[in-house]
Amino acid sequence: MRHVGTVFRARYAPGSKSDHVAVMIRTSNGEFRLRRRGGNAFQDEMLEALVGKTISASGQLTETTLIMDEWSTLSEADGAPAAS
């Protein structure tokens, strides 16, 4: 299953031991913390580069987190792959 959504930054779980400004994804199923499998869960430059973009990703969705195995960037307007 692929998950399509917009990547953004937000403070996550304030006051908790996970409290940080996280890279998140807003999909039709809700907002999730975004992570690359094997990547740093709190600081990942590859994820930072996705902020503001719409992506289509596959991976494991937990209650709070989308752990991506693979993803592609879509254009904001029509969902077509962005030129790279």
């Binding site: 403070r11 006051g15 031991k17 996970s18 940080h20 400004v21 740093n40 209650e63 709070t64």
Partner: protein
């Protein structure tokens, strides 16, 4: 009086066979358990395996059968039935969450962290019937722990490793566990960690900070028998992280820890998800499972997002240090966890939503009777003429169980809980005061959740006689477009219209 202590190991035979296969069950798991039964006998512990999916056994115990291994209500009722029939000194849950599920309790802090439920073994430690409310489980009385394998892993190696640890563990003097120790903290939380480390070990000289240190720890550091970690952790993540400002370097990694920590070691992690038994699906298992694979005698950690202040002491700081301190004083893993849970309830009453989540989310792994540290000589059981050391030790264990049961029952009547009341009416003056406090802390568009403190009969009696009638208000606000501080909360304690204290939930 029985001349042995009783341990019951509860597991689901059908689920074990389904995951590991009949051959592994018959040739690997069952023989390991037989060895454990024999070893325990030498410790004057009579150990019995009970499979709640075995109708014949459950009928003899007058306990309900588990027909669906994933059904939490059935598992709770079955374990209660087994406990009531056998009244054990120790109870082990054998297997990860796909063998005997944790109980899904409603997360009292869901509005803050977005987690709907808290996976928990706490209900199994309590006599109260099945419920999804943490409030119903504030009086734990049972010495329990979980011998955990790796969820979804068809190899029985991890499960058997923990059973073997229970077989081969021999208590050592406390000094070996106290020095050297391995304590690790995210640099931003060093204030709180220094206090915890000092409380546990008597000093914080060996406390490591990340950054700059880690994740390549030396062999002597890894081989220290006691590990205490206060770092960040992630969902389904085999790493823990430090922090200093905006940097979050890896502080400890399961891959680097595998095979490195000591057999018989003990560990407590404050980290979010530090005790999450996630299915690695062929990837790296979590640090909790890794410590246990290495032969840890006891591991205490959280199943999901945990809380604790940067500098003071609260929540995860408390339950983890209580656990380690009691282990270092010679308690078994199960008793140390029971005492830690009881102390947390006692210390934090009236409990707010974060205290309740903490109580639910921290669990202990390893056999409940694992006792890695020798009791101090002056406390150890001593026989008298005609009565052996062992007989006195068994009697003293029964005394402790009775005392812990009394304390647990007392907590049910003596603990206060802040319970959200949507119909609670605020005076105009108090509302303005709370909004002014919100403004002072930069909380925009503040909403107020009022939670009058309720509790058991003794608490309410004392509440009324002392006129110490508290209400806890959670003052919260959201900045939907903000990149930082999307949600903020202020916990305000009010008595008779007067604000007594306030605590802001802030980035650490």
């Amino acid at each position: 009086m029985p001349n042995v202590s009783i341990k019951v190991i509860v597991s689901n035979k059908g689920a074990l066979i389904n995951l590991y296969g009949l051959n592994n069950f018959n040739q690997v798991i069952d023989p390991s358990l037989t060895t454990l039964i024999g070893t325990d006998q030498g410790r004057f512990i009579q150990t019995r395996i009970v499979y709640p999916d075995d109708a014949a056994t459950m009928n003899t115990l007058n306990a309900p059968v588990v027909a669906n291994p994933a059904d939490e209500r059935q598992n709770k009722a079955a374990i209660d039935g087994v406990y009531n029939a056998l009244n054990p000194d120790y109870l082990d849950i054998l297997g990860a969450i796909d063998i005997i599920p944790m109980q899904s309790l409603i997360n009292p802090a869901a509005a803050n962290d977005g987690e709907a439920t808290v996976p928990s073994d706490l209900p199994y430690a309590c006599a109260q019937a099945y419920s999804t409310s943490v409030n119903d489980f504030i009086g734990p009385t049972r010495v329990i722990a979980r011998i955990a394998g790796i969820t979804g892993d068809a190899s029985p190696a991890s499960l058997v490793a923990s059973i073997n640890t229970a077989c081969s563990l021999q208590a050592r003097p406390a000094a070996k566990y106290q020095n050297p120790y391995f304590a690790l903290s995210a640099a931003v939380w060093q204030g709180s960690s220094r206090t915890s480390t000092t409380n546990i070990f008597g000093n914080a000289n060996a406390l490591q900070l990340s950054p700059p240190s880690g994740p390549n720890w030396t062999n002597p550091q890894m081989l220290s028998l006691t590990h205490f970690v206060n770092c960040h952790g992630g969902d389904h993540d085999p790493q823990w992280y430090g922090q200093n400002g905006g940097g979050f370097p890896v502080a400890e990694s399961a891959q680097l820890v595998a095979g490195k920590t000591a057999h018989g070691g003990i560990a407590a992690a404050e980290c979010c998800y530090g005790g999450q038994l996630y299915a690695p699906n062929g990837g790296q298992a979590g640090l909790c499972n890794t410590y246990l694979m290495n032969g840890a005698a006891a591991f205490c950690g959280s199943t999901n997002i945990a809380y604790g202040p940067a500098n003071g002491q609260g929540n995860a700081d408390l339950i983890t240090q209580y656990f380690l301190i009691d282990l270092l004083n010679g308690a078994s893993a199960g008793r140390a966890m029971l005492q830690a849970r009881q102390k947390l309830v006692q210390t934090t009453s009236p409990m707010n939503i974060y205290d309740l989540k903490t109580l639910a989310q921290f669990n202990v792994f390893g056999s409940s009777s694992n006792t890695p540290v020798q009791m101090a000589a002056h406390l150890a059981a001593k026989g008298i003429t005609g009565t052996s050391d062992a007989e006195v030790a068994i009697a003293e264990r029964k005394d402790r169980r009775r005392q812990l049961m009394v304390r647990g029952l007392e907590l049910l009547t003596s603990t206060g809980i802040a319970e959200h009341d949507p119909n609670h009416r605020l005076s105009e003056a108090l509302r303005n005061r709370l909004l002014a406090l919100a403004d002072e802390h930069g909380i925009p568009g503040a909403g107020i959740q009022s939670c009058p403190v309720v509790g058991g009969s003794n608490f309410l009696l004392a509440h009324s006689l002392t006129q110490a009638s508290d209400t806890i208000h959670v003052v919260h606000g959201t900045k939907p477009e903000a990149t930082f501080g999307k949600y903020m909360a202020l916990i305000v304690r009010e008595r008779g219209g007067i604000v007594i204290s306030s605590e802001l939930l802030l980035s650490k």
